[in-house]
Symmetry: C2
Amino acid sequence: MAPKIKSPEEREQLRLLILNAARSLFVERGIDAVSMREIAKKINYSATTLYNHFADKDALLQAVCDEDFLALAGSMQDIMKLPDLLDRLQALCKSYAFFALNHPNHYRLMFMTPHAPCNLDTTKIEQGNPEQDGYAQLKWVVKEAFDAQLFKADITDYELIAQTLWASVHGVCSLEIALGHDPWINWASIDARLSLMQRSILSGLLQHPDQLKESSDFTMATPLSTTSNI
Amino acid sequence: MAPKIKSPEEREQLRLLILNAARSLFVERGIDAVSMREIAKKINYSATTLYNHFADKDALLQAVCDEDFLALAGSMQDIMKLPDLLDRLQALCKSYAFFALNHPNHYRLMFMTPHAPCNLDTTKIEQGNPEQDGYAQLKWVVKEAFDAQLFKADITDYELIAQTLWASVHGVCSLEIALGHDPWINWASIDARLSLMQRSILSGLLQHPDQLKESSDFTMATPLSTTSNI
DNA sequence: GCCGTTAATTTAACATTGTTAACTTATCTT
DNA sequence: AAGATAAGTTAACAATGTTAAATTAACGGC
């Protein structure tokens, strides 16, 4: 009803308004359950306005995901300052799991849903830049540990190690998100599962498993049903 | 146009016709991309007929999943005959991975999509019956190995071990399905990832990792894009 | 201070979706 | 033969993603 001509800042502001509305609805109720009209209504615009800022629902989705990737990378970056290599590695895994379990719908979007091969063009994230790319950080730490010969000598590809570590934590988290409430399985506590996984996979990869400190208090605490904004 | 009164066998036959049409479409193009009308058209019925056999799309989905669970359990059951415990464990993991990677859309349905907590009532699968419940089989083998004190002594919950093993293989497979084609990650070969994961997690869990044979030739071969029927 | 251009937004509309209600028709039972 | 029932269809509903057309307000130039 009242179109003012907008400065680039105002335009960006609306873009963010849409983005945040979309995110909070997606996170709260899942992607498919949320319609463009709903997102629009939440911020008192009509649905078509969204199309002025995002090509379609998928583009909006990717924009949300991009921001979430950045958030994940950010939370990891603090960890990179820890002095001890093994501490860093373990804290990285733990922080990753924490993110996954506290933002299950985000996580589902990001790592459990086959998106059309992540347009390297349309995405805003710089690949390989540790400030933006969480995977790059993991790779980096693993490479350090690899160069320090912490891993078994017959494993010659450090990126393979990084991917194995990732997959192990991802396995626990994604099973929890997909089937954690399923009465079919008599689940052990998520803390126990994460803890045993991390201990086992590391001790299976390391040359001297006895270097592993016991520690690793896994208290994810926040129940999965309590989904929250970022 | 031509309703004949149907014997229970004929009714069951149509049920299967629907089920198979649904499955092949789901597997080929994903769940959301397939409409009830499409499934119906494929077998030359009108959409409403499907509702005569399945309450709604979700029920149809669960029926498909049920059959797939059975197929997975079946493929595992052959393995249970292997004499050596560790062989059995490894073959079980391998067979699970094979299933996942050769039926990615099935797998996505079954283990990567939060279904409404698996109505233990409406499902046809008998929980705990090893002939029907793949998880029960894994649990069983793990318990055997646990009783034979193959695992590290300080792990006291054999079901936790089973869940950790499951999560490790699931982690590799589900990442491959969700992001395996993503140029973001410089993936090692899926064979290498599965092989390292299995070796590491077992050697991290076992009391005497040196018992592990090298073997484990992982050749999943079939490329992911070649989705096929069950 | 008017005027065309353009940006911002909305209303209307389209094709599809899952699903239900109403109807048709052929078969079975008595 | 008549009524009940099963099997199926057509028609319709509300909701979805998306697009085209229409509306409104601000800006730049004269």
